[in-house]
């Protein structure tokens, strides 16, 4: 008898296991398969900083949450409806998030006394009532996998490592997903007995689910009604990489990345390292400081230069970024923010570097700041950051965070033709017939200087970190000149506001405005949509440009009775808005290392409407 299929609008599933159990891989495979089925989706990988914390302990639990839907979605979901738990630690750490009546698939082979002890459990959650109120599907997963892969000659340890594919096969059955995408991936990734064993484990999981009819019904989620076009699934890190590749080709400049590995920014280095064939060079420096300094050196030589890092790295780069600001060279600094302060929570997300990006340099050192909102928005935000850097001859800070760097969503791929060319200010023309070249002569409207490269005959000049005389760039300690140059550098950044879009809002004027920036976009938008559906007067504005703000922001904020600012920090945009507009906004701070839940924002709107 065919198991009945129930159509669901959306499903949130979370895979949880040991760091070595391959949960990230399992989640990614489920994501790619669902993307190809045409679902809208959002993912949230959540893993510990330790590569392999002691097996079976709570510290070692790694999770991957996926929200897939036939409707528009904005977040990976507040609460999973399905939890796959590979051991007691994964179960106990995640069961609290599972929605009431949710399905819990458990590997019961890992619930011996020693397993329970590793997870600091004194009683067995399979028996002590922990799972009351959930639909539990107990499966002797380790045993079944061992039997399934036996013909392929793997030892016990190797067999056990196939169990994530078995779990994936189970869930593919439960959610009516085809297995071809994963099978193709396995064939490309593994060889020999490992190829055979992983394929067997995947199939065995699927077959077991059918045969044992592990659940009385299966579920299907139909394709989402996305805008027509060509799509791919993309993480924030990939989108940043493609953004830089695109900006290089659209500006006609070679791209140079100077970087030093740091979580969660390293993937940007990995992605960009694959594009040498289109003129992208990458340099893994000896440290964070050298990474940015080499990038500035490349910018001095005429490259579209960038550096990628996270908070601790940005702290180290501060002095060099100040120099780039002082000499007025184009540079993009990407900060994939993570939980701070200090080493903080490397694999968890936070937005707490905003004020640091704004003010984290010695002296009066204003810089433009651009923030991406979602994984796919990283593409456009990166191009925007490059455009500002090149057209205004200024270092630009691009803020992402761990949540969007690792998270994935479908991306409607733009055609190359639809992306505008980026203009840069390289010159071979002498600008002072009566004397030496004037490196700091400016465009009267933007105040941007020209970019004369070494190797250009007749334009020899010197730049440096000492205060410089207007136009000539000669070292100057003149008091009035220092005031003038400080004003110019400030003014130059403020005038960028004439070259960025006005701020838009989602929803009508009046009532409550939720003002956000960065990766809170999804949770805010979904909460505002929900609020509007309840008839509340609530709107959403999401800032891509944090310095300078869009020209109309002050006037826009004034149109609302109340402004709420949810942030994954202690209220940093809140401080900037208060300082700039003298506005009594409501701050909704959160620093748990976890993204906002829709419910948290919805509750805040309800309390302030």
């Amino acid at each position: 008898m065919q198991t009945p299929v129930q159509i669901r609008e959306s499903v949130v599933i979370r895979f949880a296991g040991d760091s070595g159990d391959g949960m990230q891989l399992t989640g990614t495979q489920f994501t790619n398969t669902s993307a190809l089925l045409g679902n809208d989706l959002a993912t949230f990988p959540d893993f510990p900083a330790e590569i392999r914390a002691p097996a079976g302990t709570r510290a070692g639990v790694s999770g991957f949450q996926l929200h897939f839907s036939s409707d528009d979605i904005y977040t990976p979901g507040d609460a999973p409806g399905v939890l796959v738990a590979m051991n007691p630690a994964a179960l106990i750490k995640n069961i609290g998030d599972l929605s009431g009546g949710g399905i819990c698939i458990v590997n019961t082979d890992k619930f011996g006394d020693r397993d329970l002890a590793k997870a600091d459990l004194t009683s067995n959650p399979l028996e002590d009532g922990t799972l009351d109120g959930f639909r539990t599907i107990p499966i002797r997963l380790s045993t079944l996998v061992k039997d399934a892969v036996k013909p392929h000659g793997l030892n016990a340890k190797e067999s056990d490592r196939c169990k994530n594919f078995f779990a994936l096969g189970l869930t593919y059955w439960m959610f009516n997903r085809p297995m071809e995408t994963t099978q193709t991936w396995i064939k490309g990734k593994f060889k020999g007995k490992y190829l055979d064993a992983n394929l067997a484990a995947l199939q065995a999981g699927y077959n077991y689910a059918i045969t044992a009819e592990i659940h009385h019904e299966t579920y299907d989620v139909k394709p989402a009604k996305l805008d027509p076009g060509l799509y791919r699934n993309i993480t924030g890190s990939e989108a940043v990489g493609l953004g830089f590749v695109t900006a290089g080709l659209k500006s006609g400049l070679p791209v140079f990345l100077g970087s030093y590995p740091i979580t969660p920014a390293s993937d940007m280095l990995h992605v960009l390292s694959k594009y040498k064939h289109v003129g992208v060079s990458t340099f893994q420096a000896e440290d964070e400081i050298a990474a940015v300094c080499a990038a500035i050196g490349a910018a001095y030589g005429g490259s579209l230069a960038l550096t990628t890092t996270s908070g601790p790295g940005l702290a180290l780069k501060g002095e060099a970024v100040g120099l780039a600001m002082m000499v007025e060279l184009p540079l993009v600094i990407v900060d994939a923010q993570r939980g701070g302060p200090s080493t903080g929570l490397p694999t968890k997300t936070e937005q707490s570097d905003l004020l640091f990006a704004m003010y984290g340099r010695n002296g009066e050192s204003p810089l433009p700041i651009v923030a991406a909102a979602t994984p796919s928005d990283c593409f456009g935000a990166t191009i925007e950051a490059c455009r500002i850097a090149l057209e205004h001859m200024v270092p630009v800070l691009l803020l992402t965070d761990g949540y969007m760097a690792n998270g994935a969503e479908p991306w409607q791929i733009p055609s190359a033709d639809s992306i505008s060319a980026i203009h840069h200010r390289q010159t071979t023309e002498h600008n002072n017939p009566d004397g030496d070249y004037l490196p700091y002569k400016r465009n009267p409207e933007t105040l941007a200087r020209m970019w004369a490269l070494p190797g250009t005959k007749g334009l020899e000049h010197r730049v440096g970190g000492l205060e410089k005389q207007d136009e000539t760039g000669h070292v100057s300690y003149d008091p009035a000149n220092h005031q003038l140059m400080t004003n110019i550098r400030q003014d130059k950044v403020e005038r960028i506001a004439d070259h960025i879009p006005l701020q838009e809002t989602f929803g009508a004027d009046g009532g409550t405005l939720v003002l956000g920036w960065g990766s809170t976009f999804g949770a805010i938008r979904q909460a505002v949509v929900a609020g509007q559906a309840r008839g509340w007067d609530v709107a959403h504005a999401h800032l891509r440009h944090l310095n300078p703000f869009p020209r109309n922001l002050g006037e826009l904020l004034a149109r609302y009775d109340r402004v709420i600012i949810p942030e994954m920090n202690m209220g940093q945009l809140n401080k900037l808005i208060r300082a700039k507009f003298l506005l009594d906004v409501v701050s909704l701070p959160k620093v748990t290392g976890q993204p906002f839940k829709v419910q948290e924002i919805l509750a805040a709107i309800d309390a302030n409407r």
Binding site: N32, A35, L36, T181, D227, P228, G229, L230, Y231, R232, N233, L242, V245, T246, L249, F256, G258, K276, H277, V278, G279, S281, F283, A285, E286, D287, I289, A290, C293, A294, A295, I296, G297, A298, Y300, G301, G302, A305, E319, A320, L323, V327, I413, S415, A416, I419, D436, L453, P454, G455, T456, K457, E460, H461, R462, V463, G464, G465, L466, V475
Partner: protein
């Protein structure tokens, strides 16, 4: 492609020293050794066959690092200790330029030690000039990583405690492929090693003994003073025996077991120049001994101590870009954006 290869065309103008002098007032203290070094560099630059616009002079922070402002070339006065990193990014992306790094014992060996060793390890085709005056000058006289133990300064009134670096020993350990030493007051020798630095393909490290007449006057006087230098310095010549000493008291360096010993070559001493070590600048074991020779136990080696042929980082960097293009030629932006698993929504 090195700057030499593109530069030695018939169109390279013939320069005079004045062509390399900027219009900026030089603000080093009167009597500073930097004046002579600047002058030798300006003179040498006229003789390299490189167009003026292809020189980039990159410095960090400190007295020596004001150097680019006084050179009428492209110049970048960066931040403390980081000049090698800026220069690495510049040279990797612009191998056509002749890139010179100006640093000092504080800038290069203290705050910037990490960048210095890594640019030498990578063998970036840079000319690194380290002005060693064994003191912090610009911050007004604190001891430096090359100051002798017991140095009394404002920050070490009872004497410094830490052992100094021997810069060339450090550079050799870092894998540097060209090591040389000269002195601010030896213009001819200095110009000779500057030329050799530029001719070397790879990272060239040139230590220059430089006198700070304000905070550490005569720091090297006992070695470099013209009255004593015949006795205190050994001027290395590739393929020649290592001899030194006054005319009436000739000496040489002889290998004794695994050590170098100073022997008299005077008549009746039993030794002649043929007993002395013949300098082989390509011998790394010998270089390992030479970098340790210091006054007063030994004469200080001057000139080129070591040279090694090794592919440059910037050369390999560019080669890899070209290689990548050959294995994936003519890739369009659309093809890049549309790579991976895609699907169409109708």
């Amino acid at each position: 492609m090195t700057a030499d290869e593109v530069g030695v065309e018939e169109e390279t103008p013939s320069y005079t020293k004045k062509d390399f002098m900027s219009d900026q007032m030089i603000r080093w203290c009167p009597g500073c050794g930097d004046y002579s070094i600047l002058s030798q560099v300006q003179t040498t630059f006229t003789q390299l066959g490189i167009p003026r616009e292809n020189f980039a002079v990159i410095s960090g922070i400190g007295c020596s690092s004001r150097f680019p402002y006084y050179m009428n070339t492209y110049g970048f006065h960066t931040i403390h200790g980081r000049a090698p990193a800026f220069a690495t990014g510049l040279k990797a992306t612009r191998p056509d330029l002749s890139v010179w790094v100006i640093t000092g014992d504080g800038d290069g060996l203290s705050i910037g030690g990490n960048h210095l060793i890594h640019c030498l390890r990578r063998n970036v085709d840079l000319n690194v000039m380290l002005f060693n005056n064994r003191i912090y000058g610009l911050t007004k006289g604190q001891y430096s990583p090359t100051s002798e133990v017991g140095k009394k300064t404002k920050s070490t009134p009872l004497g410094s405690l830490d052992a100094p670096f021997q810069p060339l020993e450090l550079a050799l350990g870092a894998g540097c492929t060209f090591l040389a030493r000269s002195v601010d007051i030896y213009p001819k020798d200095l110009r000779a090693v500057l030329k050799e630095s530029e001719a070397h393909s790879g990272a060239s490290f040139l230590e220059i003994y430089q006198n700070c007449n304000i905070f550490n006057d005569l720091a090297f006087d006992s070695v470099v003073n013209r009255k004593v230098k015949a006795e205190t310095c050994v001027f290395l010549q590739h393929g020649e025996p290592m001899t030194f000493g006054a005319k009436d008291a000739p000496k040489g360096l002889r290998l004794s077991g695994l050590s170098i010993e100073v022997v008299s070559l005077a008549e009746g001493s039993g030794y002649t120049a043929s007993d002395c070590i013949v300098h082989d600048r390509h011998n790394k074991v010998l270089a390992g001994m030479l970098v340790q020779l210091d006054y007063p136990d030994y004469p200080v080696p001057m000139g080129v101590l070591y040279q090694e042929a090794r592919p440059t980082y910037d050369g390999a960097f560019q080669e890899q870009l070209r290689y990548a293009e050959t294995i994936k030629p003519d890739v369009s932006l659309d093809a890049i954006l549309q790579s991976g698993n895609t699907w169409t929504v109708e």
